[in-house]
Symmetry: C2
Subunit: 694 residues, 2 copies
Amino acid sequence: MAATSSSEDSLRRALADKQSTIDAHGNVIRQLKSSGASKSEIDDAVKALNALKLEKTSIENQLKASISGDANGSVVSRDAFRQAVVNTLERRLFYIPAFKIYRGVAGLYDYGPPGCAVKSNVLAFWRQHFVLEEDMLEVDCPCVTPEVVLKASGHVDKFTDLMVKDEKTGNCYRADHLLKDYCKDKLENDLTMSADKAAELKHVLAVLDDLSGEQLGAKIKEYGIVAPDTKNPLSDPYPFNLMFQTQIGPSGASTGYMRPETAQGIFVNFKDLYYYNGNKLPFAAAQIGQAFRNEISPRQGLLRVREFTLAEIEHFVDPDDKSHPKYSEVSNLEFLMFPRNEQMSGQSAKRLCLGEAVSKGIVNNQTLAYFIGRVYLFLARLGIDEERLRFRQHLPNEMAHYAADCWDAEIESSYGWIECVGIADRSAYDLRAHTDKSGVALVAQEKFAEPKEVEKLIITPVKKELGLAFKGNQKMVVEALEAMNEKEAMDMKAALDTKGEVEFEVCTLEKTVTIKNNMVSISKEKKKEHQRVFTPSVIEPSFGIGRIIYCLYEHSFYMRPSKAGDEQLNVFRFPPLVAPIKCTVFPLVQNQQYEEVAKQISRSLTAAGISNKKDITGTSIGKRYARTDELGVPFAVTVDSASSVTIRERDSKDQIRVNVDEVAAVIKEVSEGRCTWDDILQKYPAHTSASADE
Amino acid sequence: MAATSSSEDSLRRALADKQSTIDAHGNVIRQLKSSGASKSEIDDAVKALNALKLEKTSIENQLKASISGDANGSVVSRDAFRQAVVNTLERRLFYIPAFKIYRGVAGLYDYGPPGCAVKSNVLAFWRQHFVLEEDMLEVDCPCVTPEVVLKASGHVDKFTDLMVKDEKTGNCYRADHLLKDYCKDKLENDLTMSADKAAELKHVLAVLDDLSGEQLGAKIKEYGIVAPDTKNPLSDPYPFNLMFQTQIGPSGASTGYMRPETAQGIFVNFKDLYYYNGNKLPFAAAQIGQAFRNEISPRQGLLRVREFTLAEIEHFVDPDDKSHPKYSEVSNLEFLMFPRNEQMSGQSAKRLCLGEAVSKGIVNNQTLAYFIGRVYLFLARLGIDEERLRFRQHLPNEMAHYAADCWDAEIESSYGWIECVGIADRSAYDLRAHTDKSGVALVAQEKFAEPKEVEKLIITPVKKELGLAFKGNQKMVVEALEAMNEKEAMDMKAALDTKGEVEFEVCTLEKTVTIKNNMVSISKEKKKEHQRVFTPSVIEPSFGIGRIIYCLYEHSFYMRPSKAGDEQLNVFRFPPLVAPIKCTVFPLVQNQQYEEVAKQISRSLTAAGISNKKDITGTSIGKRYARTDELGVPFAVTVDSASSVTIRERDSKDQIRVNVDEVAAVIKEVSEGRCTWDDILQKYPAHTSASADE
């Protein structure tokens, strides 16, 4: 990327130079003409000018190629690929823009039958892989949430995006989107822009997420950005809360919101869940459910929507012991990681061994690493391409101040790298926030086997002296002294012991006062304690199910020529685990006997819990295979006799011959992952018949 | 009920008679006293009065017994039973009042770990029993719904309850609830009320659901009902819309609601789903999801909540052919049905054969009956007590005007008979409503094998004559003539043919005009048609999952004495299909070897997809069995050696001995219903050891 960028740079400079040469040469010609030079003299000069213009065009073309390579990879082929995937998904009803007959609502989608089945399969596997495997406590809380809960969590005050309004029509836009679009458009299409200006716009793009409302507003003004639909001027940016607001009950006095995440339902139940777990740490609670974000202007299809399914885990752990008993099961895993340092020094993601990342201090702790490893296994099992999956560490400015460490599982799609799972060590933030607001202590206890001696900090302000010194301000100073934490207090003690006095800032007075030796006594005393009471840390893996599924669609999609070679056929190479339908059944030709056998096989598959679909239309077997491939159905049973049938595997197109009464068992085994298609190939005779072939 | 009621009636009359006798006798005594009668004379009279009072008390007691038997069964034991169930459910976190640390929100509940698992199991079985078995098209649509959709469905205008407000505090109440509470309270506690008054209040209770706002308001005034919390006067009743309202997007111009049912998401997608099904009828679509009702004042715990999970099926069928191919699979089923006639003639529900109910015309059609049968099988398999399950037909006044027939699966609980599944033939109403509003034709086509000759009505107004007769009103008359349906037109033709003229009402003119022979020609012509285009009927089974689960809790709950006989232990007799955890595993005593074996068994169960829980606390085995029974865990594995273990069944408390490496397979077989506990008992040796016993 650095190399490309500098070549773009020099091309922009070369283009500007060439333009000045052309301008100068134009002046020369004009002078020749006005001074009455000879025709041949003028013709030569024009020829030279045309040669310069050709050279300029050549530089422009190089610059265009350099920009599109730089900004978007091969943007054309990416867009074409996405269009092919999305067309197939919409045509086969994997998803549908919601309320389409009423012209739809931006950011709301329906899952049609195959999409709904894929989602069910992903969620069932999530439950198996996380909830059952780790003995998690799954809960199911309402979406409607009273204001007090989301006030405590910070969402009422901070869950906002910056918005600008068209000053005439009132149309709303996301301020950062407008600035981003402006910069990208300029960089891609304004070839005459100076290299310095280009560098400036690139910098804006890089820091876009960190800009304040004022900074965004200033840039929008500076660049003269107007409303894209009307060219009207825009308002200053202001925050818009992304929660859907409503009223609970008829009185109008009780504001509620549709939850923006499922996590809060777990936090507020911590006390009960801890009790349910026998008052023992660590334990994890989990929740799958709808979440809602009233996006200002949704884009990117299924990736940024107003309602979506989240699957969240809150793993509660002792902050003094973040080891994990099953850590060794994942510590040897290797996959693409993108630590903070590599990002900041302009390197790219690299394969790392998870255990090494922990021992080198790249990943903060074992429990966080355990979940990173489990998430990797989960996504790989679903069929996400490992080469296009990376775990990116949050930069310091991306993380909330309370977070200890945070990694995103990012999946590369035609839209770029997409955050699909966030895995954060949120420390004690959430439980503390709800403890403060509700007055219910969300804490854990560790009972000591025998009482422990602990050192306790004792701060004793000498009120008489303080009163003399500070009069009416005495109370504020006393409170400020008592509120010191251990480090502050011990620093003060050291200063008082050596210098006899110290400057001390009293926030409530908004000034600094002088504390003398005789005004406060600070000491540490030993005390016996029978238990330790503490707020657990929480490690939160949070899965955007819709995003994972969309990326899976892109990673599973490919095209191959039809047998006749006259068209490209679409295939989704879903693993059986994910496939919406595990098996199709069709009679080779329309004939009552074959149809009866097909029905019987379909019934036995249904009884075995294997989703299947009959296709008894008279279309050619090749067309029926193509239809089934386009839904990602891994196996197709073709009935071409009453006693045995063929089973075809989607990607290899291998076919085997199996007795009718064994079909359900074979499909069940291979669909549920108890054996592979290769195992099956060993066991049953291959089938090679022209008639059943595509 | 009729018998009890008349005995209550005669008791009220007897009580009133006795009171008058007592009053009269009191007067006699006063007269005796004032007229200076002898002491013995007065004493005798007082004795007689006391005897009368005793008789009155006896009648009062009989009346009380009659009322409580009549209104609530044995209301005391019902309440005590419910309290025992609910205590257990809350203590073991089957459910939790949501946002409890913030004092909760009425009508919102969380499912804790076991409740969440029960719900998952019920939904997984629903998918297997309905979606997979019938090849339904499952979809998954957003909860946030734009106004236009719910305007078309009628919810914006009609999804309301009548509310009254405390005129001073603004507190809101459901008008029908207040009236109901008043009547019930009077009937139960006012023993001096006349039989006529009692009959009136009972009538009010019977027709409560049919009362208009004006009628409710009049009754509230008449009875002097005031706000229960403050005794303040109440406003007149007015409709309150039960949908949670919100705004979609930032503009404030796009009203949305949280969907009150999932069905609309299916209806608006009819066209795509019909295409997906190869343009063939019948087919069914299904959806599981959250629905929302902003209840005015939620009551009855989990039965009336503000957010709940619905599972809905919309089966689309040709209105001219409502037969069902799998009807014969359910037609021999027998269960409690409560047809319209039995309800109106005061009889009770009775066992009927489903096939007979159809052939006698009690159930409208085969498809409706097929779903009634499948719902019966579904509920019975979940563990609903068949004796407390009935299918009640809607009375004509309960049904929407467009509905062809409607049956509710009602389950008896401590709250009475609760509607848990509605199975309605909604005819073409919903598809027509969305066709009208969206302009997109939601219709099906039947292609004829060969063109069919059909008669078409032709109405040709003679504009010249009409113009002469009606001048400026000509256009309205022409439109009214053209809008006649077949019957109206043929009646007019007959009248014109015989009488030469006819009176005709033109709505748009708000008057009747005279149409003469020469003003219109009406005829029927034969035409060839290649297909029939029609709006399908929809048959809708709609499941309130939370209600089913709550009733299941009540039906599964029982108590039995502990072994020592000193306490009552709670048990849920969930079938394995539903049980939140299929198996607990515990070492008989705390010992590392046994704990290792327990871990190994737990791991093998997890690998087999069987939810399980280890209990390695040191509590007595009896206590651990009790804990596990209270969660409804059907099987408990106790490790008392390194090679073989015991498996105990919850309800029989039978124990068998099984080798460690067979445990997972045995539990899997019996949990997944591939064999019964009795089969297992035949195969493995019984275990009878004092130590492992309770």
